[in-house]
Amino acid sequence: MPKRRGFFRTPKARFLFWLAVVGLLAVFALAAPLFIRHDPLEVNLLQVTKAPSKEYIMGTDYIGRCIFCRLVKGASRSIFAACAVVAITFVIGTAIGCLCGYIGGAFDTVVMRFVDAVQAFPSMVFTISVAAMLGSGLLNCIIAMTAVGWTGYARLARSQVLTLKEKTFVSAARISGMSRTAILFKTILPNSLTPLVVSASMHVGSAILGFSGLSFLGLGTAPPFPEWGNMLNDGKATLQTAPWTVIFPGLAILIVVMIMGMFGDSINELLNLKKNVEQ
């Protein structure tokens, strides 16, 4: 690989850079209410589908709401819902996967066949049907995405545990008088986390995308509350006459998903580097 110059030279620097970008994004999303000039819910029929201007820097939508204000207000919803989904699926999936790998036997078989069944459906279709069944709403969306998302972590965690279980240092831990529970928590779990963390960091981007998708379909945040997916939906009628109604929310999704992807990549690089040094 060609050597990179400057600040991006080391994986650690790249990681810190993307961490800072993600941090800024989070601050931006949290501080949103402080610097928006219009109420994101305010309907102004005199200012319908106005092009971007000084007053409305990203224009207005089909009932005259400020797109910029809706965008920043919606950011916290999209990003934090995605993070919540990732955090919950990560914990549940890892816990179930670890137990399956460690206990094995009938428990493992039953749970893994269930995982197979869940994974046999196309995930988006399955999420949509669960969300539709529960009804629209932020919480229901999180539940639906969690119900489908944990299986990936479970499978990964299980395979990690199965490999680690056979390692000499696990046998050594047993001979050192550690109990079965202590071996799982002190020895196997810390050694299996790296790929799980990497996969979680990669998952954030796709969770944002999935979440916007659900909102686009009307299953996520209910109107009039802003969310990037339902903003796209609002804008699709005016796509040709007022393209800014979809361009800006679309760009926001694109940029945030990209940032999350880069952040995930940098974590991957950092952790794999550590692994290489260890070996």
């Binding site: 000499t168 240092f169 050594a172 001979i175 050192s176 008088g177 020895t187 050694n191 040094v277």
Partner: protein, 251 residues
């Protein structure tokens, strides 16, 4: 007195590669006297390591009995047995958790058997120093150490609970010859000092005959010959033992 006795151990594995059942250990019985240095030799794949894993309770035999101090233990072993029996593995670096320091591993084993953590920390340094490693190794990770250093640390960990029996499974085979000699010497010293009984498993007949009081020769899961170190070497009864000895002499 017989510290450890194995009676009619038997275990088979299904080998996916060969698509057949491998009878790894076939009706094996032997014993370990107190203070004895017992060698177990045989070619790779003859079932030596399987015996080590059965004796240390890591795998369950299909049949047979294991007695420590005349008391029978069945799988899974109670953890208290590891106060009496400790094991050292073939791959020194693999036998330590890559995410933990050597010091914390050696301290933990003492705490697991009822030691006070602060005292255990002090003793950890003593055990490391006894095996020829300095104080600075307490904070080292396995990947920062050489194979020989890791094996010394593994010995330090094993003796930290003052066991009576030490099972050494090919502990020198991953090390180069000069380090091998140092490790074996250390083992001999510790055996005298602590009154250990050692089951020394190796494929290296030359090494075993210089070290052990008594030798067991294993071939295809069966013990084919047993006797005093000198007797086995100079007057082998079994054809396989003869072959093994002649192959060493040729080299």
């Amino acid at each position: 007195m017989r510290l450890m006795e194995a009676k009619n151990l038997d275990i088979s594995f299904f080998s996916g590669k060969a698509e057949r059942i491998v009878h790894a250990v076939n009706d094996v019985s032997f014993y370990l006297e107190e203070g004895e240095f017992l060698g177990l030799v045989g070619e790779s794949g003859c079932g030596k390591s399987t015996i080590a894993r059965i004796l240390s309770g890591l795998i369950k035999p299909d049949g047979g009995q294991i007695l420590y101090d005349g008391k029978e233990y069945s799988y899974p072993f109670s953890r208290q047995i590891y106060k009496t029996v400790q094991m050292i593995f073939q791959m020194p670096r693999d036998s330590f958790d890559p995410r933990r320091t050597i010091g914390s591993c050696i301290t933990d084993i003492q705490v697991n058997f009822g030691g006070n953590r602060d005292q255990a920390r002090e003793k950890t340094v003593q055990y490391l120093e006894r095996t020829g490693l300095g104080r600075e190794f307490v904070k080292k990770y396995p990947h920062q150490m050489s194979g020989g250093e890791c094996q010394r640390a593994a010995i330090a960990r094993a003796i930290a609970v003052q066991p009576k029996i030490l099972i050494c499974d090919e502990i020198t085979s991953a090390l180069d010859v000069s380090v091998q000699a140092q490790i074996v010497e250390l083992l001999q010293e510790l055996k005298e000092e602590m009154g250990l009984s050692v089951l020394f498993i190796s494929h290296d007949l030359a090494l075993v005959q210089g070290l052990c009081d008594r030798i067991l020769v294993m071939h295809d899961g069966v013990i084919v010959e047993e006797g005093k170190s000198g007797d086995v070497l100079h007057n082998p009864q079994n054809d396989y033992t003869k072959l093994l000895i002649s192959s060493v002499l040729e080299i």
